[in-house]
Symmetry: C2
Subunit: 243 residues, 2 copies
């Protein structure tokens, strides 16, 4: 499994991905699932992947090869074109291996988040389905998740509803990630973070290792606040026990 988050905020975009991969519980490894592509000063793409590791690697390799030849993301007219391009590559890779994968009952499909900015467009975040089509993130809930999305969804929703800024969004994304890793062994550190300021056409990236003091501190403070919250919740009164 995998967990990737992308948030679209007023000032920019925040991307966070775990790095754990597994083929069964006895074959666990660490691979980058967050990739940055900057073809030129007017186009910046961040791609996150979930699904079949071989397929995602072949797609990323293909993107890089096309880029080197001045194609693909180098010429995509905008984010939606780029999403369709990634979706088409994804389908082609799966089609190439479908017969062999079907024979062993393996799922070769992948899902991608594509975010960034192309000059002349507003920055955005899109989700590319295994079928090759895409959706943008919603204006009302401007974030997307792929992989193990359920455990950490609540805090993302609360955050975007409260219209937090970039700094808080990064903390919330990390909290959402830690919660998910806590619940699901197939999601784990190190975590790759990418932060994009609108119009910069460049990203800050960070790899946050398992032993990062920040992760421990977030976990500890988060737990403390949750327990404080519980202590502050209203008691049920006897009138509630009426049936």
């Amino acid at each position: 499994m995998t967990y990737c988050i992308a948030l679209r905020l007023e000032a920019g975009l925040v991307f966070l991905a775990d790095t754990r991969t597994n083929a069964g519980v006895d074959n666990v490894s660490t691979y980058r699932k967050l990739h940055v592509f900057r073809p030129d000063a007017e186009r910046l793409f961040v791609i996150q992947s979930a699904g079949n590791l071989a397929s995602t690697q072949q797609v990323i390799d293909h993107i890089e090869r096309d880029l080197a030849a001045g194609q693909g993301l180098a010429v995509a007219a905008g984010l939606s074109d780029a999403a369709l391009y990634v979706g088409q590559l994804s389908r082609e890779v799966v089609d190439q291996h479908r017969d062999a994968l079907d024979r062993v009952g393996a799922d070769g499909t992948s899902t991608f988040i594509l975010g960034g900015q192309v000059a002349g467009e507003r920055p955005d975040v899109l989700l590319v389905y295994p079928e090759g089509n895409y959706i943008r993130c919603s204006d009302d809930r401007p974030f997307l998740q792929i992989g193990e999305t359920k455990y950490g969804k609540l805090m993302l929703e609360i955050a975007v509803e409260a219209r937090v800024g970039m700094e808080d969004a990064i903390k919330i994304a990390l909290s959402s990630m830690i919660s998910t890793a806590h619940a699901n062994l197939s999601v784990g550190p190190p975590y790759d973070l990418a932060v994009y300021q609108n119009g910069s056409f460049d990203v800050q990236v960070a790899r946050i290792p398992e032993d990062s003091p920040v992760l421990g501190e977030i976990q500890e403070r988060w737990t403390r606040h949750l327990l404080d919250a519980v202590a502050d919740l209203p008691d049920l009164v006897p009138a509630d026990f009426t049936t």
Copy 2:
């Protein structure tokens, strides 16, 4: 879908269940999924159900019929016997309808939580699988969930790790339920709560309606504390952005 929680605490047991049922998004209704059985002064059972509504109702009807005849839960030697009995009924009901359900591609199976106390045993909480076998809740994580378990798991884990008391456990269960209902339309109020004090062989039950002031208050305070927590989380420092 459904969401049911059962916690085993030092002083007793807490059960919480939603009531929403749906067969497609255009056929939504409200049904009780938490049932209390008190055959005599030495045995008390709470049963929560998730899965096929028709199957669970037939199982509950069968349990009541057996009880009236002085059988089933009335004579189960302990909670594990009771769990095997419920599991057997569950399998029989599915077997009875399997051919017809298979023809329309419907899943007739159900999962149950069985909790309570039989005199001479400690109170406990068990999960009965559709296959008829069961597990007890863990001594390290003494709670069980059935249905849509992921969204609200984190706060249950934090709670049991902090060894909260019954009052706080009820609030945490409600918070977990509200979070899940917020994320998944197929989980919804009113909520049925049952609270068992060890050795009492009786339960307090409550139905908490959608417009309950307590629910609104929990939601509001919970959101406020989450945002406070976010504000208090440590900032990433430039040294974190090293790659």
